[in-house]
Symmetry: C2
Subunit: 311 residues, 2 copies
Amino acid sequence: MNLPMVVPDPSLPTAVTIYEVGARDGLQNEKVTIPTEVKAEFIGRLIDAGLPIVEATSFVHPKWVPQLADAGELISRLDLHGSVALPVLVPNERGLDRALEAGCDHIAIFGSATETFAQKNLNSTLDDQYAMFEPVVSRALAADADVRAYVSMCFGDPWEGAVPIPQVVAAGKRLLDMGAYQLSIGDTIGVATAAHVGALIDAFGAAGVGVDKLAMHFHDTYGQALANAHASLLKGITTFDASAGGLGGCPYAKSATGNLATEDLVWMLTGLGIEHGVDLSSLVATSQWMAANLGRPSPSAVVRALGTPAS
Amino acid sequence: MNLPMVVPDPSLPTAVTIYEVGARDGLQNEKVTIPTEVKAEFIGRLIDAGLPIVEATSFVHPKWVPQLADAGELISRLDLHGSVALPVLVPNERGLDRALEAGCDHIAIFGSATETFAQKNLNSTLDDQYAMFEPVVSRALAADADVRAYVSMCFGDPWEGAVPIPQVVAAGKRLLDMGAYQLSIGDTIGVATAAHVGALIDAFGAAGVGVDKLAMHFHDTYGQALANAHASLLKGITTFDASAGGLGGCPYAKSATGNLATEDLVWMLTGLGIEHGVDLSSLVATSQWMAANLGRPSPSAVVRALGTPAS
C-alpha cells in the first residue's frame, strides 16, 4: 500500500486524537434503515482500526432521526467499558435519561452558534438552547458522565451568512462554563477557509479558552476540510472530528455536506509524522465494507485510491 | 452564490497567479475525442473567467496522445497575442518546430525527477532527458519564446517510492540552468503532505532557487492537494497549477490522479483575501458545461456545491 513519505514539522503537535463521528453523524441522514448489527459491526471495526473515540449513536426522538431509533438496542451490543470511549449524543433531558439508563458515561450535546440555526434545528432561541442544555449537563456530570459540546455554524450559516467570531466564542464559553470538557467547533456548511479557522482559534485563546478545550469539525463541501485541518494543526489543535469514509451528508449532490474523511486526515497526519494510532489499511477496508452496505462508493479520496473494488 | 468570509493572513502572499492546465493536462487522457471547437470554446471561456495563463495543448506525437492530435488546428483558432498567455507543451524538437510554426511563444517542457519515470514517460535516462531538452530550450529562447519546465514525480514515484529532496532540487536546477523561467513542481501521484512540500521549497531556497522560480502542481489522489497548496502559500509560493473542474486522470477510479480543481483553489484564495483575478461563478459554469460535454460530473467540490444540475 502506498504511504506518504514522513516529513515532520516541529512546529506542529506530535500527537492528535481523532474523534470518529461516522457511526452517528455519518449515518444519521441515511434514508435506508441500516440494521443494528451492521452498525455494531461498523463500530467494532472502527475500534479495531485504532480509533480512540467512536461516537456511537444519538438518543434523539425517532421522529426526528429514524435511522437512530435503535440507539438503546445498539448500545446494549457494545462494550461501554472498554479502552475506547463510545460517546452518545443527547438532544435534551429525555435523551439523557435514555443514555444514562443504557449505561453511557460519555455524553455529547449539539448547540448552535447562530440564532437561526437554533430555531431551525432546536426550535428554540439561543437563550432557550442554553436553558435546555443546563440541566442536561448538570445531571450528566452528577451521574459521573463527561459532556462534550458541539457548536454548529461556527463560520457561516445558510441563513445568516458569515458568523461573527465573537458570537462563536461567546456561545462556546457558555457551553464550557456549564461544564462541557471540550467544544467541537463545527464548520457545518463547509465555508471556512484557513485563516478564518486560525482567527477563531486565536479568538478563543484570547478569551481564555486554550486549544486543549477545542476540537475542530470540518466539512468538505467546498474542498477545504483538510487545508483547514492543516491550519488548525499550526495553531496547536490536537483533536479532530472525522468520519470514516467521509460518511455524512450527500457528497455528490448540490447540497454536499460530507464530513472530513478520517482516511484523508490519517494520510496527512501520517505524512506529518503526527501520532494518531489508526491502522489506515484496516480503516480503508472498514469504509469499503460500509460503502458496500450503503450501496455507493466512499467519497474519501484515500479510500478510492487505496481500496480494492468491492466484490 | 455562497462565498467564504474573507479573513486575510498577513503572512501569506497578497496575490497568486493560477496557471490553468485543464485544457491540456485535464483533457489529454480523455478517451473520447473532443471536437476542436469544444476545446477552443473551453479555452475561450477560461480566458473570459479571468484565468491569466491557460495552457492550450501539447505538440506531442498523436501516436502518444491522440486526444491532442489537433494541436495545430486548435492553436490556429486562438488569439496568441491577447492579454492571456497560452503556453503549449512540447516533448522534443519536432514538437517545438510545430509549436513555433504555429506562432506559439510560450513553451513548456515536461521533465522527470526520477530515473524510472524518465524511462517510462520519455523512454530515456535522466541524462538523456537533459540532452533532449537542451536544444529545445535554447532554440525556443532564440525564437523569443519563454520556457517553463514541469518536473514530475517530485515527492513520490510509483516505482521508486519516496523521492529524495536533493534529487528533485538537482533536477530542477538543471532545467533552470538551461534557461527555463519557472519550474512546475509536480506531485504527480498525489502522495505529498504539507511538511514535505515545505521542506522541498526550503531546499530549493537553500540551493538559490527562490519561490519566484517555483510553481506548485498538486494532484488530489489522496485528498491532500489543497492542504499542500496552503503549506506552499505559507512558504511564499505565488504560482499554482490547477485544472478547471478538477479535470485530469480519473478521480473516481482506483488510480485516481485528479488535478487540484481550480475552483477549490479559488475558493481558498478568496477566503484568504489573496488576489487571483478569477470570476468563480463563470468558472463553475464553464466546468459544468465541460462536464456536460464529457458526460460525467466534475470532481471539484466547489463545482458540485455551487453548480446547478446540467439540464
